[in-house]
């Protein structure tokens, strides 16, 4: 007991270390299992999923089928284009808005933050029909641009909130120094603050990318021609 009380801060007993690692290993296993399971099933040929605990009958049939007999590579390209487009556009738009809200006290900045929150509250599932009609009128159905803009509107509110919090942690003196040296407000933002906010930008970019990459409902409703499927929307059609 005495040895534990005199231990310097930050060091653990052997038992505590073992407990820590056990807990993390179990948690990682739970996190990993469903993903590995999908990989496992995908390697078991067409009917392998019916015998999930047997380690026989491995084949790459499913992969040759997908790569050879469907337009997988085109669809993969679609996902890349749409997700990257949504990420770049979304992060840029969210960053300018987040910066403005973080640094400038302009009329309307509080309602704006509330709008960001409210936008997340309206069930997107219910927005599909009106959005479909709207995109139809704007002639953006079945196009990359339509889907990119839609995904932006999904991810931007959260990104702007995150980035505002991030910009708040960057001292305002840096802006002032930039202004004294003759930069415009936009120049300060672009040359000084954005480079400093790189970690925050990375997190929001990751978030936007994942949101766009894995989205099903909009992709399968809006992209009707086969060249415009994404891998995920194709999977949706298969199930």
């Amino acid at each position: 007991m005495t040895s534990t009380t005199h231990r310097p801060r930050g060091e653990r007993s052997r038992a505590a270390s073992a407990g820590l690692h056990t807990a993390l290993i179990i948690a990682s296993a739970v996190a990993l299992f469903p993903v590995l399971f999908v990989v496992f099933v995908s390697l078991r040929g067409r009917d392998g999923w019916q015998e999930p605990t047997r380690f026989v009958g491995f084949s790459v049939d499913n992969y040759t089928h997908i790569l050879g007999e469907t337009k997988f590579l085109t669809w993969f390209g679609n996902s890349v284009i749409v997700a990257l487009g949504a990420t770049v556009l979304g992060v840029l738009v969210a960053a300018t808005a987040g910066y403005a809200v973080s640094r400038m006290r302009f009329p309307g900045h509080r309602p704006l933050m509330w709008t960001f929150l409210v936008v997340q509250m309206f069930p997107m599932a219910v927005l599909i029909v009106p959005l479909y009609n709207l995109l139809g009128q704007l002639e953006l159905l079945d196009s990359y641009a339509g889907l990119i803009v839609t995904y932006c509107s999904v991810s931007v509110p959260f990104c702007a909130w995150m980035l505002k919090g991030y910009f708040d942690t960057i001292p305002a003196e840096i802006d002032e120094a930039g202004r004294v040296d003759g930069l415009t407000p936009f120049g300060t933002f672009w040359r000084l603050i954005l480079p400093l906010a790189r970690p925050g930008l990375a997190v929001t970019a990751f978030y936007s990318f994942i949101t766009a990459w894995g989205e099903v409902a909009f992709a399968s409703q809006f992209m009707s021609s086969e060249e415009h499927y994404t891998p995920v929307s194709y999977t949706h059609r298969c199930v």
């Binding site: 801060r9 270390s17 820590l20 690692h21 807990a23 993390l24 948690a27 990682s28 996190a31 469903p34 993903v35 399971f37 999908v38 099933v41 999923w49 019916q50 015998e51 999930p52 605990t53 738009v93 300018t96 808005a97 910066y99 403005a100 400038m104 302009f106 009329p107 309307g108 704006l112 709008t115 929150l117 409210v118 936008v119 997340q120 509250m121 309206f122 069930p123 997107m124 599932a125 219910v126 927005l127 029909v129 009106p130 959005l131 709207l134 803009v149 932006c152 509107s153 931007v156 959260f158 702007a160 936009f186 994942i210 894995g214 099903v216 409902a217 995920v232 999977t235 949706h236 199930v239």
Partner: protein, 313 residues
Amino acid sequence: MATVVTRVRRSFGTHWYAWAMVLPVVVVLGVLVGYPLGRGVYLSFTDANEANVGRTIGVNHIPSTYRFVGLDNYWKVLSGQEGHFYSRLTWTVVWTASCVVLHYAIGLGLALLLNRKMRFRTLYRVLLVLPWAVPAFVATFSWRLMFNEKYGVLNSFLTTLGLDPVDWLGDSFLQKVSAVAVNVWLGVPFMMVAILGGLQAIPAELHEAAEMDGASPWQRFRHVTLPGLRSVSGTVILLGVIWTFNMFQVVYLLIGAGASSESEILVTYSYRLAFQGIRDYAGSATYGILILSLLLVFAVFYRRTLARQEASR
């Protein structure tokens, strides 16, 4: 009149930079969310359904014949005549509460574990964030395979252990448990990352000072860590509630269109109204607006409570 104009002009002069920077967001959200939202509000005051909305068949355009019915839809839903609202609402609230509590508790636990110096920390972090990178749709699909009554891997484990297989997705209680499990699996990484960020922002000196004063680990957790996490927690719990309340994909895809089941939440029900059977656009919009209003009321209360706590400290 003249003073108003000058005031507007002066305000524009000082704030035009700020407004120019928020303009893109406002335009995108205004068009893509504002318009559908406005249309939703409008539809909820009508009796629009598949039979009476305007549509074009070939070259013939059939004009809309739906009428304005005022608050009729809301009355029907809220007075219980329509018959599904309160049961769905109860389950949605239980669903949201259990998911968010589990998200937060597990996320906090894992973040505390990861916020220490140890070997393989980066590896653990990557593995634990992984579920976040899996599209909800693919994850749900994978879980559906695992929950499968006849061929699922979970039941295989149970039979190996000599237990009876369980019909995970058949019985409505088990459906609910399964849905919560999947959603918790999906949502924990986000909480963990956010809380970990919050933990790292707590100055180490605070912990050292508390330790000098003889605080036990529990006391340090209670009086240093938790207060330090307050602002992060406030935000992620609010977002968590909103996202879980509207978590369409997991519930819809896991339990499937195996419809009319008790385990449906408000969002999936409202989606089904608009897309299955005789498409009831007005009813679906009414549900959408009600969901929005409920969340809005919750958010206002929540923020106010947080602000009051902050003030009383």
